[in-house]
């Protein structure tokens, strides 16, 4: 599995907050996805109903997941495809390698896939002398830079066009060094030309799946560029790497989820390309892959079933939660230290990596609730993050200062008289200290707050004491 640095979230976040280029990139992207999503939702009166139905479809499927997986498997085989089961990321890597070796593959073209990131497929391919070519523009850019995606649908959202230009100049050394390459259209043209040749060179094409359909044994991918299509249509072998919770019962169920997916992700009514693949090419088909393999990955997901985190398996990976998250929008995706960033990552990563490894992440939330508001399948992300925090606390994994602080707070909270007395004194002291400026730039025990911003100074009395003395809003 991909190495995680989630334990270092605080340090990672501090480093990212100080990164001026990242600031510039995040500021530029801000609002694009959120505004478009709001418009798309408004343009579809049935949007809220479709969200409810999508949630119900996913819940129903997970409750009967063993049944639907077996049904799906049978249909894939009937249509001439192969199904492989992977319990762990290592199993998935071994299966991919075995398939690649069976056709003596020198290169694998890849459509965007977060599961591939989770299983560290590229690293494994390179170790075995097989070239992995990321074909999604964003993935291609970060592959050149040796980076990982910072967003599940916009992998290079943390980069500016200047950085992309720099990487293209450093890597495409066969091209004229004096060429003009400043603007996004010229950058895209260059990537298109270079990747074009690669499509015809690979023996294997790999994609993920947004959905697997039990009724037909089909896999469905959703893209805007068309790279996932060229990757699966031209090479001899198509491998689909998908996690087990991608299953839906029928094509009708798939249609419902597709209606909320693009709208929640980019705010498009429908992505440019929605592609359904069933088996290998048929007799008489002039193109398409000769072999079709599906790898069904568990990697910790069954362990979440039957627990308070089961609802997380509804996730359709649209990215709406991170687009709307004030924490993600400030620190970017890399601070989270593993494959899945933002609120969905803060819930999923401890599930897949363990709370001792990724228990920091659920603390990276202001609990503003925006993620839950926009989640197309209504995952109660703040509640699930709170559940992880409780587990972290119970397992004595939270730092000593936090435990002492929480212990003190809970003592006062259980003794209202003392609470009022203590907060009253605190307010008066802070009000006096901040009298001159109305704000405080350093407060004992509150460095976590005052390091990055001032604390507004209280005006002298607590809410409770003002209420008690009869003060009411005008």
């Amino acid at each position: 599995m991909k190495v995680s640095t989630t334990r270092n979230f605080k340090a990672n976040a501090a480093e990212q907050l100080a990164n001026e280029t990242l600031r510039a990139a995040l500021t530029k992207s801000k609002g694009h996805f959120t505004d478009s999503r709001a418009i798309a939702a408004e343009n579809l009166p049935e949007f809220e109903d479709l969200r409810d139905q999508s949630r119900d479809i996913k819940d129903h499927t997970i409750e009967n997941l063993d049944f639907y997986l077996e049904a799906y498997e049978a249909r894939v085989k009937e249509s001439g495809g192969h199904v492989h089961w992977a319990r762990t990321a290592e199993d998935a890597r071994n299966i991919v390698l075995e398939i690649c070796k069976s056709v003596d593959a020198k290169a694998v073209n890849k459509g965007k896939s977060m599961i591939s990131e989770e299983c560290a497929i590229n690293e494994m391919l390179e170790e075995n002398g097989i070239r992995a070519v990321e074909t999604d523009l964003g993935e291609y850019i970060i592959q050149l830079r040796g980076e990982t995606p910072s967003h599940i649908i916009a992998p290079a959202v943390h980069l500016t066009k200047g950085q992309v230009e720099e990487s293209f100049r450093a890597n495409h050394t066969h091209l004229d060094p004096d060429r003009i390459l400043e603007e996004p259209p010229t950058l895209l043209d260059e990537a298109r030309t270079i990747l074009r040749q690669k499509y015809f060179e690979a023996e294997v094409g790999m994609t993920g799946a947004n959905l697997l359909v039990a009724e037909t044994g089909s896999s469905i991918i959703v893209t805007n560029e068309g790279n996932g299509d060229l990757s699966q249509l031209i090479p001899k072998v198509h491998i689909v790497l998908a996690s087990i919770e991608k299953i839906v019962p029928t094509l009708e169920d798939a249609a419902t989820i597709l209606r909320v997916l693009a709208r929640s992700a980019t705010g498009q009514e429908f992505s440019s390309y929605t592609t359904m693949s069933t088996g290998p090419k048929r007799e008489g088909d002039p193109d398409g892959p000769e072999e079709y393999h599906v790898i069904l990955l568990d990697n910790g997901r069954t362990d979440m079933i039957g627990t308070e985190f089961q609802e997380m398996l509804r996730c359709i990976r649209c990215g709406a939660c991170m687009n709307h998250c004030p924490v993600y929008q400030s620190v970017g995706g890399h601070a989270y230290g593993w494959v899945y960033p933002g609120p969905m990552g803060s819930v999923l990563s401890p599930g897949l990596l363990g709370v001792d490894e990724a228990g920091h992440l659920p603390n990276a939330s202001t609990f503003c609730g925006r993620c839950e508001e926009v989640c197309p399948v209504r995952i109660p992300l703040p509640k699930l993050m709170r559940n992880w925090r409780e587990q972290e606390f119970e397992k004595h994994l939270s730092p000593g200062a936090v435990r002492v602080g929480l212990g003190l707070w809970s003592f006062f909270a259980r003794h209202p008289k003392l609470y009022q007395l203590a907060t009253g004194i605190q307010m008066r002291v802070l009000a006096r200290a901040g009298r001159a400026r109305g704000r405080l730039s350093s407060v004992p025990l509150a460095k976590g707050w005052t390091k990055y911003r001032d604390l507004p100074a209280p005006e002298g009395r607590t809410f409770q004491s003002r209420w008690k003395s009869g003060e009411r809003p005008q």
Binding site: A71, S79, R87, L233, E269, T278, G279, L296
Partner: protein
């Protein structure tokens, strides 16, 4: 890896609070749900008559940067394709699907077009295909792979021209599912009970927002998607 299969399935069942597969009653219900093809909510925006449906398709397709032209009959299609290519300053060599819908047009009368039928190669600039269906809801074309429609025609050339007889405009994706199921079941279709290997829903030309969220057309697939709607029978 067959032990992986057993391990995953049995741990799933344990997690779901069962010791084995679902009981017979449940299995019957689940199977019925899978073959029942019950529709969930389908947006009401497509509750329109045929003419308005074609209009909605056109409006939605243009919104996502497809271009649309109308011709009265199939016999006018080659002229319209030629006009479009000249107007956009594009080459007149085209690679065309070996498809009976397109056979109905008099291509030989348009001497300026140089036509090859079949699978595209890397250097092909323009493809022409028909679309077996189009979804009004989002301005989406539906393409089915098969001997008469290589899927790569939808992706390799920079310009994709699609001929769409107007009667093929349907309301929703669900209508397309019904169409592919009916085709699979029809002994005349040559599908032999199978779905097409690839079903492509295409909504506008290829695009990317991966560089600073700037919308750019023509990322890997076609830069231009031109739809010729045939209004007559």
């Amino acid at each position: 890896m067959s032990d992986n299969r057993e391990t995953v399935l049995s741990s799933l069942r344990r997690a779901l609070g069962r010791s084995g597969p679902v009981d017979d009653d449940t299995a019957t219900k689940l199977r019925a749900r899978m073959v029942g093809h019950a529709r969930n909510t389908v947006p009401a925006r497509t509750a329109l008559d045929d003419a308005a449906l074609v209009e909605l398709f056109e409006t939605m397709a243009k919104k996502v940067h497809a271009t649309v032209a109308h011709v009265p009959n199939m016999s006018d299609v080659p002229g319209a394709v030629g006009d479009y290519l000249r107007g956009e300053n594009l080459p007149s060599e085209i690679v065309m699907a070996p498809d009976v819908t397109l056979d109905a047009a008099p291509w030989e009368e348009n001497a300026l077009l140089e036509i090859r039928r079949g699978v595209p190669v890397e250097s092909d600039q323009v493809s022409v295909t028909s679309a077996p269906a189009a979804v009004a809801e989002t301005g989406t074309l539906a393409m089915f792979s098969g001997p008469s429609h290589p899927s790569t025609l939808n992706f390799i050339p920079e310009t994709h021209v699609v001929v769409l007889p107007k009667g093929r405009v349907v309301k929703s994706y669900e209508d397309v599912w019904d169409a592919i199921r009916a085709q699979a079941a029809d002994p005349e279709s040559g599908r032999d009970g199978q779905l097409p290997r690839t079903v492509n829903f295409i909504t506008g030309p290829s695009r990317s927002g991966d560089i600073e969220q700037t919308l750019l057309l023509g990322a890997h697939g076609p830069r231009r998607l031109h739809i010729v709607i045939v209004d007559g029978e």
